[in-house]
Symmetry: C2
Subunit: 228 residues, 2 copies
DNA sequence: CGTCTATTTGAGTTAGCTCAACCGTCGTGG
DNA sequence: CCACGACGGTTGAGCTAACTCAAATAGACG
């Protein structure tokens, strides 16, 4: 299970540069900065840019009519956001924290990728890895309990951005409880209650609202029904 | 939202042959037949084949430790199953009905796709369309009620395999109630009850367990919170 | 015809939701 | 400097959609 299943083109098996970067001349790519909360693009906007997160975290989401929101992915540094199969974006994207992004490509309509033939195979593997990560997220959304979702989520974040310090793994939580809820298909209250329960059980510490320290990793893994 | 979001490489915007088929010499691709219920491959099996459904329907799924299952996609004719980013499959795949499949590729480890450079761009679009479809499924699993899920599901099936006859749209349901439940993240009982409720409301007819006739399409669309 | 499995229906339970109150922090303006 | 409002987070109480368990029914298939 990958936090950024939907948007990451990072390689999951062997290191490889994201192909689009290789097809773009250095001077063709620029930087863009966003303050926390600012929108990068919205569903329906003309999709003429693809971005790679350089610093900070973004979230991509979709809305349902009555205001219900589903966060599709959190985009961490190296992740790609804004890829679209046609001429408009199919999700919203906002900065979770102050963010720096590389603009990878402009004018999708006219520009073409310039692939080496030999990396096409690898590109397909990337797409498949992408899909594989999303499939794990399906399992989570469809079949896991609130506790299993939260535990899995923390484990994935720990894997990706955790730092080991004196027997604990500390994980920054740049997103709000509401973001987490909308990512996992829960409510804010349930997220909060579940974190509190983990704290009471001495599985985690919550030094402040935007960090978690995992005290008993094995216990957390058990709670996640670790099937990834 | 696509029924086969996870595995279909059919084009969603403009007609294009699946690229892998073009890279494979006719004599290199063979057929494989499965009886309903037979497994095509299992999670962890060495992934040396990619299949395209020719006839029938398959399901890809993942299991959680305690037997909970999530169906990732139903594969209908033209859909591709078995694509993997590494050397083993990451889901199970079984035939829902008697199925005929084209074996598209053998020995992934040695063989390579033979893409035209100019279709790489389109392939990437396909992958993105794929991802886009899966994202809609996220929205469904995470944020829709049982009724909305069932209604959306029926609408997608109707779109794909429905036939118009005397004011109704009739849709074959080759899969079991249990398959539907595991696709939508529900229980068999809830699926059954919801279908019964739709029948009582004269929105659908259920001539037999494996067909649905949509009598009031607009009503069904309302119930689906049609956000796709 | 008998067996097996899928489906439906009923009854009771519960995980997670809703609604509401409360707390702490932060930024703003008097 | 402090008061105030806004916002994010936590906690409590009660509700409900969907689940579990159980039993009846209906097809499917040998």
């Amino acid at each position: 299970m990958y936090v950024t299943a939907a948007t990451s083109f990072r390689d999951h098996t062997n290191p490889i540069v994201f192909p689009m970067a290789t097809g773009v001349r250095p001077e063709a790519s620029s930087l863009r900065r966003l303050k926390a909360g600012q929108a990068l693009f919205c569903e329906g906007d003309s999709a003429d840019c693809v971005y790679q997160v350089v610093e900070g975290v973004v979230r991509t989401s979709k809305m349902l009519s009555n205001g219900r929101r589903q966060i599709l992915a959190f985009g961490y540094p190296e992740d790609i956001v804004g890829l679209s199969h046609d001429q408009c974006y199919h999700s919203d994207c906002e900065a979770v924290s102050d963010t720096k992004l590389r603009v990878l490509r402009k004018n999708a309509s006219s520009a073409r990728f310039n692939f080496d033939v030999e990396i096409c195979d690898q590109l397909l593997r990337h797409a498949a890895a992408e899909v594989s990560g999303m499939q794990d997220h399906f399992l989570m959304l469809g079949r896991k309990s609130a506790m299993e979702k939260i535990a899995s989520f923390l484990l994935v974040l720990a894997q990706r951005t955790g730092t080991h310090t004196q027997g604990e793994v500390c994980v920054p939580l740049p997103m709000t409880r509401s973001d987490i809820a909308d990512f996992l298909g829960l409510t804010v209250e349930t997220v909060s209650r579940t974190l509190t329960k983990l704290k009471s059980g001495h599985v985690i510490r919550l030094p402040d609202h935007h960090s978690v320290c995992i005290r008993r990793m094995a216990a957390l893994e058990d709670l996640a029904d670790s099937n990834e």
